[in-house]
Assembly symmetry: C2
């Protein structure tokens, strides 16, 4: 474990079209990109112990500042030696800044130039978060990568509103940077809705600031899928070539492929863990609704192409039984598989970029999964992905 790095550094190893194969060095290890970061909102990737998660191999996970500041509190985390030590995780951690969660979860809020006032969704207590404080909290938790504090407007707002919000995010970005210190890196978040010119201005404004990496925010927030893809494909290639690019809170396996194709290096999404709890499982042959009666007597593995602890030890029939019988172990087995599926997919994507065959991989993947999605298996719904 490399513990000596000062902040992160990104090395671009190879490209295949716009797709990028890179390497991100962090104070808690080196991460091969493109990478998927499992989401551990409250300091736990839901349903898994830290050891179970570690065995699946991710080099970096995501935690949420919003949740952790409310419970157990950043002061406690400092007292416990930082969030890594508290949760027993010695690899890298990225935290979302709290911006998105305040807009989507908190009960009441007032947005001012200085910051955002909100009430906790847990106990209604009142809090005030500024760009400076959001970064300070992340630095004090000892995370490897902190995110700037942004305003994340809902999809479908009038352009003038999106523009006003974006300008605020830019001013907050500069203020966020004043609190970066120690080994914690800081990524800026590009906004601008689905408007090309706004996205371009946002990239330019943030590109003038010395962020350690750049994220694309404000996608998958209710806009049409085509607008999301169009914005992604337009924006990603504009980002600084020598920094990691992170597409926040997206998405389905197909979305990850689209993101990589557009030049994105980092992803996070609650989809694999949340869908696992809903019994929707990703496989090399498409999605499986494990509660479906057709799996009742199916003694084959969930995904014959998968070697995760679930697929190598139990059958679809047993997974269905556990799910239907409301056993907690169903959530554990399902989560192990879905997280493995996402991590394996990223590994395959990295391999394909290295062999200049990403385009072929993308086509084969889409063809295989769309062909074999059986009619009874309802498709995964699009959900609010950035938890």
């Amino acid at each position: 474990m490399n513990q000596s790095t000062e902040r992160v550094s990104f090395e671009l190893l190879r490209t295949d079209g716009d797709a990028r194969r890179g390497r991100l060095s962090t104070p808690h290890g080196t991460i091969e990109t493109p990478v998927f970061m499992p989401v551990g909102t409250q300091g736990s990737v839901k349903s898994l112990t830290t050891s179970q998660l570690a065995a699946l191999g991710p080099g970096i996970i995501l935690n949420n500042t919003y949740h952790l500041m409310l419970r157990p509190g950043v002061e406690l985390l400092e007292q416990m030696g930082g969030v890594h030590k508290f949760i027993g995780w010695d690899r890298a951690i990225l935290t979302d800044s709290g911006g998105f969660q305040i807009y989507s979860l908190a009960e009441i809020r007032k947005i001012r130039e200085e910051g955002v006032e909100f009430r906790s969704h847990i106990d209604g207590s009142k809090h005030f978060l500024t760009p400076e404080k959001a970064v300070d909290l992340q630095v004090r938790m000892g995370v490897d990568i902190a995110m700037a504090f942004d305003e994340c407007p809902a999809g479908g707002l009038p352009r003038a509103e999106v523009e006003r919000s974006m300008e605020l995010t830019h001013r907050w970005a500069a203020r966020s940077l004043t609190m970066r210190r120690g080994r914690t890196s800081l990524f800026g978040i590009v906004q601008g809705g689905i408007h090309h010119d706004l996205r371009k201005r946002s990239v330019e404004a943030l590109g003038e600031l010395p962020f350690d990496g750049y994220a694309i925010g404000g996608l998958s927030v209710g806009e049409p899928k085509e607008a999301m893809l169009d914005t992604l494909r337009y924006t990603a290639p504009l980002l600084p070539r020598d920094r990691a690019r992170y597409l926040m809170g997206v998405g389905t396996p197909e979305d990850l492929l689209d993101g990589v194709a557009a030049g994105v290096d980092m992803f996070d999404c609650v989809m694999p863990t949340r869908n696992a709890r809903n019994g929707t499982l990703f496989t090399s042959q498409g999605k499986v609704q494990i509660r479906n009666a057709r799996y009742k007597a199916d003694d084959g593995p969930l995904d014959p192409a998968c070697s995760c602890p679930t697929c190598s030890t139990v059958s679809r029939a047993y997974l269905r039984h556990l799910y239907v019988a409301d056993e907690i172990a169903a959530l554990v087995y399902n989560t192990i598989h879905n997280v493995s599926f996402y991590l394996d997919l990223m590994g395959q994507i990295r391999d394909s970029i290295e062999s200049d065959s990403f385009g072929a991989f993308l086509r084969t993947f889409l063809e295989r999964t769309s062909r074999s999605n059986t009619p009874g298996d309802t498709p995964v719904e699009r959900e609010p992905f950035r938890e």
Copy 2:
């Protein structure tokens, strides 16, 4: 793994007072006794994957015929190659016969000489279970040890009712034996409430039948604790010396010690797994209610004397955070520890019998746990233990 044994055989290795150190050979491995069997009612020890459970070392677990016959169904289990293969468990399995569960869980029932009619607690469907059918189901599931089908009267019934019920259980015991076959062993269940003479008659009646082992049923069903202990201490030594003795559905760590002192070899109880889910954790220093605010900033292990995967990787503070934040991982970590605690306790008991120091171990254990139960940690309630 010894797969060749025909049915079980019990070897009594050593005694220390009435306490017995023995060895039970089964078609799925040899079990050192006294032994605790974690309860996996529906084919899953709640909150754990089969691999997680196996890593904790139990040589035998309990499943319930009642639950498995309703879901996923014995026909399916046969089709899947038996319950061991279905759940991915290659060590021994004992099944309760369904008698107790019908009385405590099913919706409507009619008890006749022939058997019991009941409605499923899951979907209200009607079922009829006889002694022959209960054993046949267990044999078809391929379990190592089946239990005879008994009637388990509630505590506090008039003596005449207890006697009538006991006589029925004796007739059902003989009928149960007619369906024993293959490698599945069959244990008889002694009844008789809290009446010494009835218990003696029950032991004599069942002792004349060629069961592979004997269980004490009908305890911890609402009778006063002292009556339970008195009946246990009277009944256990009466049982055949050359067969394994199993105290069903009991109990607290202190109950296990009392049971061993009376000469019991086998135990099962939902307490470690159920209490784990309620946040009540057993430690070498007494019980811990992990939600208690006193553990908020406690960075020590849950039990300093324990080397389970929970105690060796995370702190009380993190366990409290996970529990308070309703994280599924809390249930997993807690269950890992409580099951480990029960298994470790049995190992210590076996060691103490081998060194002729069980009495001293018993006294030290009771003194240590009672002394250090702190006032804020409410005691574990007595629950219906035989799930």
